[in-house]
Structure formats: structure tokens, C-alpha cells
Homo-oligomer: 603 residues x 2
């Protein structure tokens, strides 16, 4: 089956067969849905993506969003897109019915966005950030804030943003300096600057609702003094009219990729007339934000996987059409009388295609795996079970963000390479995807930040309980795989790798216990690479078990080759990617401290 | 010592201390030179790069070369550059004095171009390709061709190109179809199309001299029927006037990077009036071209390393200036009362900087190592010794091309990452270098082609003699390193890796012996990664030995920290990069044939 940018058959196989979304639909929260209605939703998103999104991806790169006279102007197609997405309810897909939402599982939400981002990664951030910011208001805001803002955001009449980063602070949110000064009214005066604000503005939404992290005058230093505010671009007044709220778009960052999607610089209160409304309690802004952060991080990884998916299919199409070179004969020579062969017949091209397939589908599976934990945590009625899913979610989230970002870059580099010199040229898509994806490892916490989170917080939290729970899940897959003769060797490899994780952590933990956190975390990024590879190995084995079982049971709705391809790609992953873990473990267990206490003169 | 784009101190240390260029200068061919005159030459190239090249790199990206009315227009600064480079003799740097050249060692030529490419990679290809094409004429052309073309090329009044690739053939040169029809004059009529012709045209050279691979009517199929022609854009006539030679620039490829450097599509003989002059003998074109290929491949790798060098220093500067975050205290918390620390103090940033330093300087060393073999082969008077250096050159060339290309991409990805969100923005340079370098793995034979060359030809040639010779060279370094207590463990690691190479080759060779070349070469690219890493490990150990000896002897002209930095970076390479070889070896010794005889349905 050929695809343009996403393998819908694989996406559904992962959803229904591997991650058993139908079990989720048994929960009361999702009881309005069955497989048929989910299929209809996914197929409608695919149609929307085919018609409204994918045809415009190249144009959006060629004609980037521009900043002019204090406003951002995006590609004219956004008008149709915003209208379509609003009508389809994509913003409120996971919200309660009572809040005007569709009350879909998070897993389905992510599947839908995966499709859209694979079709055109310059666009869905506009819905996704509106969804995230409206969700913050729904979760922590008072009724008046909800009533004032959420309905207009749900249909994208208004857009929403998340304003965290400041010029002087970067990733360091404890250094946020945007100031909120109390007034004798229900609002605060806001003053400060925010940068790198994605989806900050455009000409097709009449208002923007910024969710801003700021420090109330006199608040404690650090993250404990950070509060969350709703700061609209235009503030509604009692009489239903709107006043400009002194929230100025001061510029746009020009970027190497994702050019259709604006990245703005916003100045709040330059004329001392910027009003902000506190969300929830004072000084709890960061904890509110972090409750949305897991979803935002899964979403970022998902976008990376989506871009890599599009690049994979772009290079697969080329490999299936481009004749070049010949097979070598028994004496190692080519017979030039033969016609040239399609390049897909060269092993090196197949290696580059399987590498992409392994990364793209492995990432897709991890995104869904992580999202099912969101749904399971939310719908669970048992405290212990709820905690279990929460811990699993917390542990996997930084990996779900990072693996598709970092390995997605590698994946797309393979797509570029398959096209040879054409891969570098604007006439073909891989070069654009290669540029687009590079932001994913920076968005929403860089790879370094995610890695500190993984090793410094998630591995150690509750005395390692999250890792214990994950090991149980992985062990289940190992047990299931061991029942099949052809999968057993891979199950053994995964088991060995689980042991290696213990060994590595055993070697690192003493540093934490001694209070030497700098040493403990020095190679956190290497640990992320190591652990992430093993987690994707788990996802692939899990996928292969279901594929093998389906072939055995003879009850699949896809051709046998489809299931074979999953088992084959799993083997490829274990043969070409998993062996990396040994070298990474060796690096992690080194005792040389080469990046600690090193003088600057050494560079 | 701070640098903008290249570490001149390191470059000279590698040239004089590690690769002992002064020994080369003892050879008669180079006897006009000593260290002082070489230093003057290098320093003048650095000054030229500082003033004429580096200040324009960003502009050349922003205002790319354009195709208009059959001509290519490049950045106006090229006028000064062409004039300066012509006056400095950069085209004929390695030619004989008798040919109007400077008769410099190839090693010095590559050092000079390294500096220029680090300063501005959009430019030196214009000189380099003119140098390469004039060299083809000098080496294989008759006196008339030499007299007609070379003098004007030497000072860049005319430019030169290499025309290999055709639209239908790509890397497959056996499928060249450009036709050369004999006439009763001294020329052939040329008809055909060439694509991806770098430096194909610009407004500041009055003529271009294309070195074109074509097939003489009736010539045998395949590479055995390919001849080499001089095809000028404008042909000189007896009376000293010039006639347009029907060699039309048909367009330019728009690219994601290296935009100041044109990549043209040339149509020869569309009006049946394109004349070409045979270089050397008929049907030997490819062998002539391949005698230039080693230099061209070293040059391409050098360009990759140069770009990575510039990105490294760009990110190092940022890391030294940007405050963000704080160190963790004993309880794993940050003290927000402290001022923010410079990001260079974070271990993860240092890891990313050392990764770059290890790749950039390791690549630089390999380029020089390979170039010394060019010089040694050329100046050797002993047949056995000449063969030895030729074999070492042949073996290392595909690695010198590929390691800086592929690892250069990884290196610059680290530079982008160090800048956080700014790394993705046009305001900073790493994103440009990240785009620029991506072509290096495609130019001059893709990574896949280089890898087939390495494993399929170079490892096996003369029954593995090249590898035996390399093992002797590496063993010398191991022996020297073993004399120092702190280097001995790394010497042992390198020795183990040499053993691993033997093991891997031992596992692959039976496939070749059985005539199963497809299987033998299926993972050639993985082998390249594996073997290339070990070769760079050798270069680093060799560098560390010299650094340690210099500290011991107390006779260095640099601060001790300079030599310490070499030893430290060697340790970093062995701790963070070398461990990869074990996993790669495991992949290479797999018996699964996952990329062979796989049906297309599996994608």
C-alpha cells in the first residue's frame, strides 16, 4: 500500500491491535465511541489533511509567515484551515462534553494530530496550542475566565498561546521576570517580554489569548514565585466591545524551517496598559503549566515523528521510481547491457528505508503508548492503578518527546541521502523536512532538559518505582514474545538490555546518593539515547508479537506482507539499532569526569 | 586562544608536529620552502580569509547565486575574491614551477583550503575546481591544450569545472551518454547534458573550461567507453577571438545550503555547434578522472571539516557568553539567589563542545594524514615505498571524504543545540552551517558510493595489502602511546579495535570469496562508520602522543593547556565515540540479510 505522508494502516494497527484502544472505549468517559465512530473521525482528519493541509506544505516554506506593522501574516490557506479545524472540533477533541469538547481519548487526539502534522507540520501547532491554553483555563481558571475565553477558542475564532520563555532566561523558568502588579480590580498589570512564542498571531483569528508565566510583585524568587495569567491581545469589556490590551507582537524569529508557522516576540505592557487575569492561585503557575507539559511534550515528539513519516514516504516514492546502477554479478562486476535497476533494489537504499521505517513507526508506537497512559490515568478509579499509570506516563514522556526529535533528524537525513544530489535541492521535499524537524529537539525543553528530567527526576522518583513498573510492562512483552520461536532471540536481547539498564543505573546512583548531582547528571543526554533506544526496542517487540499473533490467528484485515513487514522491521531495529546500547552503556559507566571541572582553556 | 572559524594553532600543530611537514620539505620537489615560508603562505591565506571571505558568508546565504538569461550571477564580492585568489596563486598551488605553479606540498594546499572553507564554504570550490580541471589538462592534455587553457585558468581569468553527472545516470558513470562525434578537424562535436555542475559559471570570469566525460561514437558500453574532453564555454579561434561554443547554462539547482556557490545544469551542443578536444587517449577518460578523484575526495571531506570547524567556534563563542541556569547543589537543587552561570559550565554543553572538537580536529588530522601520503607518493623515488604510500592513500581517501561529511553533520547539530532556540534562527550562524554541510555527504560520490569503494575495492585490493600497511602505521602509534602511562589504556583500546577490524573482515570476506558481492557489500556504509571511527581514533592517539611528548620535552610554542586539550579531547573521543565500534561490529557480523532479497511490500 502506498502512502503520501502517513501509513494510515499502520496507525490503525498500532491503535487498535497493539495499543488496544477499543479497551479504552469501554471506559465510561469514552462510552459514546466505538471503533466505527473512531474510524470515521480518523478518516475525516485524513481527508482534511489530504485536501486542506498537505497540498500547501511546500508553499508555506516558500512563502513564510511575515511580520508587518505589528501583525503576523500567514499563508492565505490558513483561512480555510482554521475554519475547517474549528468546525471539526479539533481544538476541544479531548475536552469534556460539558465544556463543548468531543471527550475523545487522548490517544485518538494524538493520532489525529499525527496525521495532520505528517501532512503539514507548519499548521497544527495553531490548533494544538489553542487546545493546550484553553485546557489550562478549563482546568485551573475560574468560571468567568472559562466563559469569557474558551468558547471562542474552541472554534479557533480566537487563538491561544503559551508564553514561557524570556530573552534572559531561556529554558531556566526560575528566572522569569515578567511582572504582574496587583490592582484594586480583578486584574493585574502585566509588564515583560516573551520570546519564541509559537502561533503568537495571525490575520485569521480576531483575538489571541496568551497564557503567560509572570511573577507577582513581591513573590518569592525561583519557580515558587511564578504565577499563571490570561493575557488577551484584545480584552473584552463589559459592553461586549474589545480594547487593545497592550500586548504587542514586536517581531518574528526567522527560522531555517517550519517557516509557515510563526515564532513571535511579544512585549506586554510597554504602554502600561496590559491587563492579566490570574489563573488559579498565585505562585502555582509552574505547577499548572507542568500539568499540561506532559501532553505538550508528547505533542512535540509526535510532530517530529510526523515530519519523519512524511520524509520517509517521500524518499520511498523516489526509491521506487528512480533507476540507477545495476546489481553486481558473481565476479563483482556490473553488466552494463542490463537495464539500470530501481534504486530500491540496492541493499544500502533498503537499509536507509528500513532505518526510517523503524524510527518512524517505533516513534509512533511510543507516542500512542504514552498517550494510553494519559487515558488510563484519567479514567482509572483505583488510586493505586492511577498512580501506576501516572508514573509510567511521567517516565515515558521525556522519551516520547526526545526519541522522535533526535532520531527523527537521523531518519530524515537518510531520506535526503536516498535522493542523492536531488535530496539537497528545493525541487524535492526531504530537504524541507530536514530543516523543519531540527526545531523539535529544541521546542518544549531541549534534549538536554528532557534528559535531566528523565535521569534526574523520573528515574529516581518514588525510589525508582516508575522504572520498576515499566520493567514489568516490558517483561510482559518479553514473555509474550518468548512464546514464538522466531521472536524469542529478540526477547532475550531485550531482557539483556533491561539488565544493562539496571547495571548503568547502579553505576550512576552512588553519585546522586553522595550529593554529587553534577556528576550524576553529566551524561544524562547519553542516558536518554541509551534508554530511549531500549524503550523503542520494547515497542517494536510488542508490535511484532501482535503481528505474529495476527498471522497465526489468520484474523488480520491487512495482507500478510503487512504483518511480515512489522516483524521484519523489528528484526532490523534489533540488528541495526539495538547494538548501539552496549557502547552507550560503556560511555555511561566511564569514571573519567571529562566534562566536569574542565577549564575553559581546554576548548 | 579564541578563534572565529578555524584554530590556526591547532592546524599548525597538526602540520608541523603531528604530520611532520618539515620532513616533506626536505624532498627536492619542495626544497624552495622552509617552515618560515610555509608559515607566511598560511598566514597570508588566513588574512585573505579574514578579510575577503569570512565577512561575506551570511550575505551569500541571504543573496544566493542566481540564474538569469543564460548566465549565473554570484555575490559581487566574488570580484575581489577571484582577483585576490588569482594573485595569490591558489589555483596552481601544487603545480610544478614550470607550469606556473607554486610547487607546494599537497598537504599545505589542503591546509590553505581548509582555512578558506572554514571562513566561507561558498567560495573556495571555484578555485578548487579550476585547480582540479587545469591539473587534468596539465597531466593528460597535449601541449596545445595546455598552452591554450591553463595560463588563463591559473589566475582565474577563466574558471574550470568537472562535468560528470547526467540526469539519467546519477552516480552511475557507466551510463554516461553525452556523445562525442569525431570530425575531420582536431575536435569532436559534443552533445549531451550534465547536471550538478558546481562552479559552472559566474559573471567575473570571462570564460569557463569544462572537463567533460563523454562517449565517442561507437565506443564500448560502460566505463570502458568514456573519454575526457575539454569543452570551453567560448572557444578561442586562430585569430585570438572567441566564439560561443554552444555550451549553455540551462539553469541552476536551488539548494537548501551553500547557496552562494552555484550548481548548474549545462546543455552541450543543443545547436550542434559544441566542440570538444580530447584529453589524452580515447576511452581513458574515467581513469584520468579517477587520478584526480583522490584529491577531489580529500577536498570534499576537507570542506566538511572546515564547515564543522566554523560551527564549532560559533557555538563555543555563544557558550562563553550566554548565562543560563545554575549548578545543582548537594541536595540536587538550584540556588536562585546565585547569578546565572555561563552555559559553558554545564557538563552537557561541554559534552557537545568536546564532541565537536573531537570531530573537527580529528577530521582535520585525517585530511592532513591523507594528504601527506599524496606528497610522499609523489616524491618517493623507491618503487616499493611509492606503492606503499599509494595504497595508504587509496585506503584512507574514502574515509577522509566520508567521516568529516557524516560526522560533520552530527558535529554541527551539536552547535545548533548549544544555542537552544536561537540555533534554529537566521540571526545566528549554526543553522546556516547545518544546511551548508548537508551536501558534503552527497558531493563527489555519496557516502554509499564511498563505502562500496572502501569495502569493495580498497580493503580487498592487492589481497588486503593496504590494510596491512595501515595496521603497521597504527601499530607504530600504539607502540609510541604505550610508552606513556596515561596514554597506554587508550593504546590498548585502539589495539583491541584493530583486532575487531580483522574479526569483522574475517566474517565478511567469505561472502566475497563465494561471489556473493551483494551480501558482502550490503552493509558497506555501516563498515565505513565502524572503520572510520577507528581511523579517527588512531589520529587522536597520534595527536595525543605528540602533545604528551611536547609537554615532557618542554619545547612547545603553545601554552601547556593547548597540549592538555589535545590529550583531553583524545580521552573524550575514546570515551564517547570509540565505544560505538562494538555495536557497529555486531551489526556487521549479523547473518540475517535483512536488506537483501526483501520484497518491496515490506516497506
Amino acid at each position: 500500500m502506498t502512502h503520501d505522508y502517513v501509513a494510515i494502516d499502520t496507525l490503525k494497527f498500532l491503535l487498535y491491535n497493539v495499543h488496544k484502544v477499543e479497551d479504552l472505549l469501554q471506559k465510561e468517559r469514552f462510552s459514546e465511541y466505538d471503533k466505527t465512530s473512531i474510524d470515521i473521525f480518523i478518516d475525516s482528519v485524513k481527508t482534511f489533511s489530504d485536501t486542506a493541509l498537505h497540498p500547501f506544505i511546500k508553499e508555506m516554506d516558500e512563502k513564510p509567515s511575515v511580520f508587518k506593522d505589528g501583525n503576523i501574516y500567514v499563508h492565505p490557506q490558513f483561512e480555510n484551515i482554521i475554519k475547517g479545524a474549528g468546525e471539526m472540533g479539533l481544538v476541544g477533541a479531548i475536552y469534556d462534553f460539558d465544556d463543548g469538547g468531543m471527550q475523545l481519548p487522548s490517544t485518538i487526539f494524538h493520532a489525529a494530530y499525527f496525521i495532520m502534522e505528517a501532512a503539514n507540520n507548519h499548521v497544527p501547532g495553531y490548533f494544538g496550542l489553542t487546545a493546550g491554553s484553553a485546557n489550562l483555563i478549563l482546568s485551573f481558571g475560574n468560571q468567568k475566565l472559562k466563559d469569557t475565553y474558551v468558547p471562542n477558542m474552541l472554534d479557533l475564532t480566537w487563538g491561544g498561546t503559551m508564553c514561557l520563555t524570556e530573552p534572559q532566561a531561556g529554558s531556566s523558568l526560575s528566572d522569569v521576570t515578567t511582572l504582574a502588579t496587583p490592582t484594586d480590580k480583578d486584574y493585574y498589570q502585566i509588564k515583560g517580554q516573551k520570546i519564541f512564542i509559537s502561533a503568537g498571531d495571525h490575520q485569521f483569528s480576531s483575538n489571541f489569548v496568551h497564557l503567560v508565566l509572570a511573577r507577582i510583585k513581591g513573590a518569592p524568587a525561583g519557580t515558587k514565585g511564578v504565577s499563571l495569567f490570561v493575557v488577551p491581545k484584545n480584552r473584552p469589556s463589559e459592553n461586549g466591545e474589545f480594547t487593545y490590551n497592550d500586548a504587542a507582537i514586536a517581531g518574528e524569529f526567522e527560522k531555517m524551517g517550519q517557516k509557515g508557522y510563526c515564532t513571535t516576540h511579544i512585549v506586554f505592557g510597554d504602554n502600561n496598559d496590559c491587563r492579566g487575569w490570574l489563573v488559579g492561585e498565585a505562585n502555582k503557575g509552574l505547577s499548572y503549566m507542568f500539568q499540561m507539559m506532559n501532553e505538550a511534550r508528547i505533542a512535540t515528539g509526535r510532530m517530529g515523528a510526523g515530519i519523519a513519516s512524511a520524509a520517509y514516504f517521500s524518499s520511498l516514492k523516489y526509491a521506487n521510481e528512480r533507476p540507477q546502477g545495476r546489481k553486481l554479478n558473481k565476479s563483482g562486476k556490473k553488466n552494463t547491457d542490463e537495464e539500470q535497476t530501481l534504486i530500491i533494489n540496492h541493499p544500502d537504499i533498503k537499509r536507509m528505508l528500513f532505518t526510517q521505517k523503524a524510527i518512524v513507526e517505533g516513534s509512533m508506537s511510543l507516542i500512542f503508548q504514552t498517550a494510553t497512559y494519559v487515558d488510563k490515568e484519567m479514567t482509572s478509579t483505583n488510586a493505586e492503578e492511577k498512580e501506576k499509570y501516572n508514573l509510567l506516563l511521567e517516565l515515558l514522556t521525556p522519551i516520547a518527546k526526545t526519541y522522535p526529535a533526535e532520531q527523527g533528524i537521523q531518519s530524515i537525513s537518510n531520506a535526503v541521502q536516498i535522493l542523492g544530489g536531488y535530496g539537497f535541492c528545493f525541487d524535492f521535499m526531504p530537504q524541507q523536512y530536514y530543516r523543519d524537524i531540527r526545531i523539535i529537539a529544541l521546542y518544549e525543553g531541549t534534549t538536554g532538559i528532557q534528559s535531566l528530567d528523565l535521569l534526574g527526576r523520573k528515574i529516581t522518583m518514588k525510589k525508582g518505582k516508575a522504572l520498576e513498573l515499566l520493567a514489568i510492562e516490558i517483561q510482559e512483552t518479553i514473555t509474550a514474545a518468548s512464546a514464538f520461536v522466531d521472536l524469542k532471540p529478540y526477547a532475550n536481547t531485550l531482557l539483556e538490555n533491561l539488565g544493562l539498564v539496571q547495571k548503568v543505573i547502579g553505576s550512576l546512583m552512588p553519585h546522586a546518593i553522595e550529593g554529587n548531582y553534577e556528576r550524576f547528571l553529566a551524561d544524562a543526554t547519553v542516558f536518554m539515547d541509551f534508554f530511549g533506544t531500549i524503550v523503542i526496542g520494547w515497542q517494536w517487540l510488542k508490535t511484532a508479537v501482535i503481528a505474529r499473533q495476527t498471522i497465526k490467528d489468520g484474523n488480520g484485515n491487512q495482507p500478510i506482507a503487512f504483518y511480515d513487514s512489522k516483524i521484519h522491521t523489528m528484526k532490523f531495529f534489533y540488528t541495526y539499532e539495538m547494538p548501539r546500547t552496549k557502547g552507550l552503556a560503556k560511555t555511561l559507566m566511564n569514571d573519567k569526569e571529562l566534562t566536569i571541572k574542565v577549564s575553559k582553556e581546554l576548548f
